[in-house]
Symmetry: C2
Subunit: 473 residues, 2 copies
């Protein structure tokens, strides 16, 4: 089939789902064509259905016309998976109007939401009822987007990722078929858990229009501290100690290396630096939170005495400082790491995971591997050590580099990925997903049989290969 006729497509779509639901002017399309940080393309048009039936209608139409479709949530993904390709022939199917919270059931501790509901919307609605959806992220994605990327973030350690908090799903397939896997059941062992097919698979098997999510009681108190550590091994020891004694209330264990923390205080002067001029090699943000009432047990006391006893008892070797602080202030520091590094120059941000026990040796190996050939590159690591996640950022000043940034990035990325995957049995995408940005690495590292299974699923669920920009099969 040749390129679709835009005017014709727009007219038909407007007949199907209404005038206002279809956008085709360049100035209107711009925000659908450009991702929050990554991803850029040209759209044929953008359509914003507001009901599952309309999503089904749009997809049935696109299928009949041979039009390729890219589903888009809040467009905050970090792998370029939610923007159209450069052809100008892809239809953007935005879920932004599919944004109703259908039900909150306090007894069931579940929320039913449409695919376009924002994480912040969920938070507000649930807070009113003393509950919380436990995914905590830097961005504000949609429910559908979080499912397509299996979003994770800073509290996986305690509550798990989206997969572990997803009870049911409604998905529209490429031909417009609506697959109803909606359930609020927590136990249901009746064969294949079919919803898993749609989790973390970049929307290439279907578009999530509705989901049932597990929610948790809102903590009654929270305590945080920054802990300085002289080396990676001390960080791991701290993690084990905290889990053993405070495991039930430990809700975050975020680690920032000195190389990654210095820019935060350099570019965000309003943030208080408790360490002064000499930052410890690693700073850990420890967060405790609990539903237990503060008049029965104070988390501030518990954190202080546990860390104190650890240091006095000799198990705190390498712990250099402990600074309790207000959660909002300490999180503010953590949330500015990524942005501050970007002020330092060129950044190649890599989203790696390795087994928790290998975190220090992986970062060291990455330094050793990069240093000889790229002496101008600084290895700045930070991340969710509690889950084995490390955002390894390679940073350099443009003027120090012998070659242009895109060329260097293309050289460096496979070196680190190979180290992570091959030598450390780690992952080249801990949290962000595949998308066009990781396509080549997916192709390289995924077992042939897994790709084959994806191919079989794709052949059944989207036989003409019209959905999404990622290729799993």
């Amino acid at each position: 089939m040749g390129a679709p006729d835009r005017a014709e497509v727009v007219r038909s779509l407007r007949e199907l789902v209404g005038e206002g639901a279809v956008l085709a002017e360049p100035h209107e399309l711009a925000r659908y064509e450009q991702g929050w940080r990554y991803g850029q393309g040209k759209a044929l048009a953008a359509v914003r259905p507001s009901r599952t039936e309309d999503v089904a209608r749009v997809l049935a139409f696109a299928s009949s016309q041979g039009i390729r479709v890219v589903p888009q949530g809040a467009n905050t993904g970090l792998v370029g998976g939610s923007t159209p390709d450069a052809s100008g022939e892809m239809l953007v199917l935005s879920l932004e109007r599919l944004s109703r919270i259908v039900a909150i059931d306090a007894v069931d501790r579940s929320v039913t939401a449409e695919g376009g509901v924002l994480l912040s919307q969920l938070e507000t609605a649930l807070a009113e009822q003393g509950m919380m959806f436990p995914i905590d992220l830097g961005a504000d994605p949609t429910v559908g987007g979080m499912i397509a990327t299996n979003a994770a973030g800073t509290r996986v350690l305690r509550y798990g990722d989206i997969r572990q908090n997803l009870l049911g799903l409604e998905v529209v397939l490429a031909d417009g078929t609506v697959l109803d896997l909606m359930t609020t059941l927590r136990k249901n062992n009746t064969g294949l858990d079919a919803k898993q097919v749609f989790v973390g698979t970049s929307g290439v098997f279907g578009i999530v229009t509705r989901a049932v999510l597990r929610v948790v009681p809102r903590p009654a108190q929270r305590a945080t501290a920054l802990v300085g550590a002289a080396e990676g091994a001390s960080v791991l020891q701290l993690l084990s100690h905290l889990e053993q004694h405070l495991g039930d209330v430990l809700s975050a264990f975020e680690v920032v290396s000195a190389e990654s923390l210095a820019p935060v205080f350099r570019y965000q002067p309003r943030l208080r630096n408790p360490f002064g001029a000499s930052l410890p090699p690693y700073t850990v943000l420890v967060e405790l939170s609990t539903t237990l009432p503060a008049d029965r047990v104070s988390l501030d006391d518990l954190l202080e005495t546990t860390l104190g006893a650890m240091i006095e008892g000799g198990a705190g070797e390498g712990i250099t400082d402990v600074f309790p602080g207000k959660p909002a202030e300490l999180w503010d520091i953590r949330h500015h790491v990524s942005e501050s590094l970007r002020h330092e120059g060129e950044v190649l941000g890599l989203d790696i995971s390795v087994p928790r026990s290998s975190m220090p040796s992986f970062v060291e190996a990455a330094r050793d591997l990069i240093a000889p050939d790229y002496p101008f590159v600084r290895v700045c690591d930070f991340g969710h050590w509690g889950d084995g996640g490390v955002h390894l950022n390679l940073v350099w000043k443009k003027e120090d580099a012998p070659r242009p940034a895109p060329e260097l990035k293309a050289e460096l990325q496979p070196i680190i990925y190979d180290l992570a995957v091959t030598r450390f049995r780690g992952s080249f995408s801990a949290e962000h997903g595949i998308g066009p940005h990781n396509q080549a690495f997916y192709d390289r590292y995924t077992p042939a049989l897994v790709k084959e299974v994806c191919g079989l699923l794709k052949a059944r669920l989207d036989p003409k290969g019209r959905l999404g920009t990622t290729r799993l099969g």
Copy 2:
């Protein structure tokens, strides 16, 4: 192909994996042919490989000879999925010799175990290192068996089921191919999570020879109480209240109706009945457990004061009694429910789940539905209300029934399943899986597309349909 020649098969298998690994005498085969509670058949032979390579060799051989194979763990399943059919032509592949705990990594908080490792083995090995595998069950299954049935039990409320505690897998496919999905990663978003295909699918897609499981720190203290409730609504209110205030330390919320509890005290006179002659309509076993040290917060105090405040504050309407007690003693009561009901007469035990908020109305609807036509049947319910799981047992005395038990069971089962699935959007198998026992209901209630997807997977992973006795596609 005709029936396999037993002598020939046994000779070949012995050559492949050694003399002692193959059993063929009727008295040796008996225990492989008969399940712990359900399931009975005739085996061609039983083979007990002790290495993944030998599992692969056996399967490659069976595949080449057209021999059907049923994988078997501890044979404790409740749906007849681990025993051979009646043909005498199926080879039992027992995992009992694949029973090594390969590694326990305290920093990583993971354990790597072979498929035949028993739950009790895991418990012992982990306890020595201050850790725990959080699945708690009445039986002692193997790692492979738990994965094939997605085992759950009494602490899902707090820790999730097997799916939520599984990090990596090694599976041998029907043709002997070894699929390596072993990883200890907690974050790995690189497309389809292929291990999900093998979770809860009764071993029909492959045999689990090795797994990496997430473990948790061992609690430092535990507190339990029996709470009497006048009706189901009070039980739900208690659950909500406890989750809101003690959610982080609530580790079990087991509910037993008076009809199910009375037989326990009748047949187990050594167990202390704190209620005396008049049992409350519902008895809740509440368990709190935590890693937090008892000198900082006492769970016994916390449980007592929380329940006390609830009752005094007016939120405890319908709470009739609170009896704190030793965990071992109270669990002893709970663990004897199922067995004691069997002393009462004929039992049809159903493993249902419904949304948590529907628990009381479901049980009531079941009573209303059964009473008119089956006045001699008592509806005895108990289960994991915290997860929406209800073991609905229909009990009658043989002499009261107009028809033989098998006939009545075949009549009653679909009535209750239909109520659960169709009217309450529940499940006909909350925990136990499919297997031959639930095959007809799987066929009836599973969406056509899900069956089709299973068919595609089966066609690729076991094209000749040789593995297992369950049919998902």
